[in-house]
Amino acid sequence: MTRRGRGVPLFAVLLAVVAVAFFVLPLIALLQRAPWGEFWHDLSQPAARDAMKLSLVCSLWATALSIVFGVPLAYVLARQEFPGRALVRALVVLPMVLPPVVGGVALLYAFSVNNGILGGWLLDTFGIQLTFSTAGAVLAETFVAMPFLVITVEAGLRSMDRRYEDAAASLGANRWTVFRRVTVPLIWPSLFAGAALAWARALGEFGATITFAGNIQGRTQTMPLAVYLFLETQQGTAIILSLVLLAVSVIVLVLLRDRWFGAAQHGA
């Protein structure tokens, strides 16, 4: 910082300070407006408790579905060359940049009972209705969360030394054993990071959920939806729920700190 000539220009430092303030100020505002005295009281309201319970259940289901379908998808993308692989990868990543509300509308026309492509068939065949149900909220969260898991796990698979898989095969392990006993343990950090990111994304999902699953307390009203609703009626509860979501985000960041910040510091 004290070296002259090779330092960062002053105007860049000033703009950087403004940028940091821009990130920090809302957090301070949130903490400052929080009704700390009524913290437990607000949290234990039925609507808040329902929202938290539902958020936890839905986000964990979304994470589980992301792992079950996302890991094989990442494996295929990383290991199998096929025509259109780049296109498939682009489609998988699309929900990360797509406005969630558009995702919700798209899901609606895929799974709605009245005018969805699969909705009527699902209802007739299995008696499943996804719209305006908890399953629908899970589906909406999975839609936006799974890409985070897929790209993280795919990156892990690409960077691992595949010769370990060769070594396992030479020792007599079939492909499933190799995957289970060598590949998964070796990419475990990526899998963990991908799952954590997917979970955090699922937990915060708003647009696709409210569009596709609606805002029904105890069924589809997850924490972000409850925050949006309470902001009109009970600001205190909205702030408390926001703080809980903030705390979860911080915890996820701390869990991933070695992966992200450690790597950045080592210039990797």
Binding site: D161, D166, A169, S170, G172, N174, P185
Partner: protein, 350 residues
Amino acid sequence: MGLDATIEVQLGTLDLHVALHASEGETVAVLGPNGAGKTTLLRTLAGLVPIDGGRIVVDGQTVDEPAARCFVVPERRSVGVVFQNYLLFPHLNVLDNVAFGLRSRHVTRSESRRRALEWLERVGLADRAAVKPAELSGGQQQRVALARALAIEPHLLLLDEPLAALDVGTRIELRRELRTHLASFPGARVLVTHDLLDAVALADRLVVLEEGRVAQEGPVAEVSARPRSRYVADLVGVNLLQGTGREHSVELASGAVVVTAEPVDGPVYVAIPPQAVSLHRNQPEGSARNVWSGRIQGTDLLGDRVRVHVEGLVPLVAEVTTGAVSELGLADDVEVWASVKATELTIYPT
């Protein structure tokens, strides 16, 4: 029995075309420069790279023959591999690494561990069973890799540069140790290396691979005494000349003539050990029949010896003492005379 293979593979710029045989109890060293196809050759034997043509037979069973649409996947071959850098599974402890092959072959967990521990005892590492591979020294990792490969009781053992990852100090001792362990393995062994000393210490027979082809093969002593390519000659450290023999002389392409002790005829190689080359500042008169002039182009210090590169009609490397270097004032660009007695030459047909 043992290994019988004719291998044809096209992989990128590599065009591998090799016949390889190893009997039971025999160690064959595949020696060659980087990119010669050594590792690819091992991978075809292990089933990690399918061959495009030819046939691989391990212990009487054909494991790869494209013409017959036969290909046995790696996990069904009876081939143990010690990989370069050993590739011990970092997330498993030493015991589970060695037990991995048995577990994959549906041996029960307790039985696998019991047998793995026996193998660890054999390589002297039973007390390290519970630690992760990262905590082991390079030499210990090599022994664990060997135990892991042998625990599945393969018919063929492949070793890819088993000593390359070790530092020079421990290398000599581990080379000797590896030889003992190899001797106790009854099947055929194929060792890939770029180090002649490894090959000499561990192998019965040498196969020299250059650009995907066998440049030379035979017993270790034979190959090192009569190199047939520049690479092998450099490796064993002898001067290799090529020319046409007539009566008691060999005419080189440069026009220079080498006088021989015995009559020779037709195209031949002439091998001259650097120790047999004497250097002089003035044209020598003596019993040496071969005297050539040249100019010094570089010197390498080898302990108390110096290798002097002499450029001229007959390019040679001479090995002299450090005393001779200072006494004669041998330095770059100095004109010298090199002499070699005809009886010091090894001459053999190309």
